[in-house]
Symmetry: C2
Subunit: 235 residues, 2 copies
């Protein structure tokens, strides 16, 4: 099996393979929030590209989440802070969600036969699942507005590292090789390694250090969200 | 001053700044060949996006070079092997050139106010020149067919490393931070570090190890090619 890393949603078409499993990655914070939501009993989520679509779901009685540039949009009950999803109000609910980068990456991957959601919070269960499937894997980083970012590529490297070292996956993909090096340099202190990253600094300005520390702590939420039609559900 | 790295030509529009200097990078082998050509007395080069355009120049009496997927195209006198440019036949000549990735990266950067050509072969003189200009710098990697590649990003990291450590440049660009890490991991043995890279393996199959070793040996050709209108000339 082969593993590749796509650094930005806009490049996904260069990596698409009909049979591959896609993992969508937006560590700070959309995919961390989604994993947290399912771990806390959310029933379904509906990722949408635009705030208007999220608004429309809200009008129709759904809970709805919307974030742009790190901040929750006024009029919504939730943004992409994982802490927003740690309460009983979300239990059993279906939540529409639109974020700056994460839901765009999901949108870009729609053609894939299988799309799952990855973050440090579900790293180990996700790797176990991928290894069981015995299929090629494409890791799609959300990045920041179609630019490469450090936290998503570093997390992609964690998966590349596990799958190549422990399960015999191969890669001839330079972005997978670079990602693995990032992770192996970072793994002993992710928080420190990402101290210089542009988005961490963007979020620090918004006083979101607690979110960042949470999102960088592996294996707190052993669940795997997967796309089924327009819904994300728990595998 | 600020320094950023753009991993693929198709993303250049996200990095464009009117006043910044662009360095186009295609280490294996287009920009190494171009630097070698000027070092060996070529007068001008005309980078063109398509083989047809190169053919048209050839019909009009110019020397012409064309390469696709690592191989010289039949009917042309030159490809992108630097060794093709190390002889008296090229001295004083104007040569049209089209390559798989390198000339595409030049094409993508046309909007920039200043475009220069970078490779390990002219690393030190290029950094000295950039530092003298006191302007923002955007490093544009040619990559491989709009995918990230390891050798161009590693070379970009060499420039980021020098300019941030020795000349006070700043960066809030995650791809610059990642590139610098690649270079700092690779610098003691570039050849070994790039052993796993996809393009090195592509070229090794074409029996181009001699080219690769040459292209990864810094500072053999202290010249800086620069775009002037449609021409590349020696600065």
């Amino acid at each position: 099996m082969n593993i590749e890393v796509c650094f930005t949603p806009q490049a996904y078409h260069l990596f698409h393979k009909d049979e591959a499993i896609v993992v969508v990655i937006d560590v700070l914070r959309a995919t961390s929030a989604i994993v947290t939501a399912f771990y806390n009993g959310v029933n379904k989520m509906i990722p949408v590209a635009t705030v208007d679509e999220a608004k429309e779901y809200q009008r129709n009685g759904f809970m709805a989440a919307a974030e742009r540039n790190g901040e929750m949009i006024e009029g919504f009950e939730l943004g992409n802070s994982p802490f927003g999803y740690m309460n009983n109000k979300v239990k059993g609910k279906t939540i529409a969600i639109s974020t700056t980068n994460g839901t765009q990456a999901i949108e870009a991957s729609r053609k894939a036969s299988k799309v799952v959601i990855g973050s440090f919070l579900n790293l180990d269960v996700l790797c176990e699942y991928l290894i069981e499937q015995k299929k090629d894997v494409v890791l799609v980083c959300a990045g920041w507005k179609n630019k490469f970012n450090l936290e998503d590529s570093t997390f992609a490297g964690a998966i590349v590292s596990k799958l190549t070292k422990e399960a015999g996956y191969e890669t001839n993909c330079d972005s997978a090789i670079a990602s693995r090096l990032l992770y192996e340099t970072a793994k002993d202190d992710l928080y420190e390694f990402l101290a210089t990253s542009s988005h961490r600094n963007r979020l620090a300005k918004l006083d979101l250090e607690r979110d960042i520390k949470y999102c960088l702590t592996p294996n707190q939420c052993p669940v795997i969200p997967v796309m089924e039609g327009k819904y994300l559900v728990k595998l």
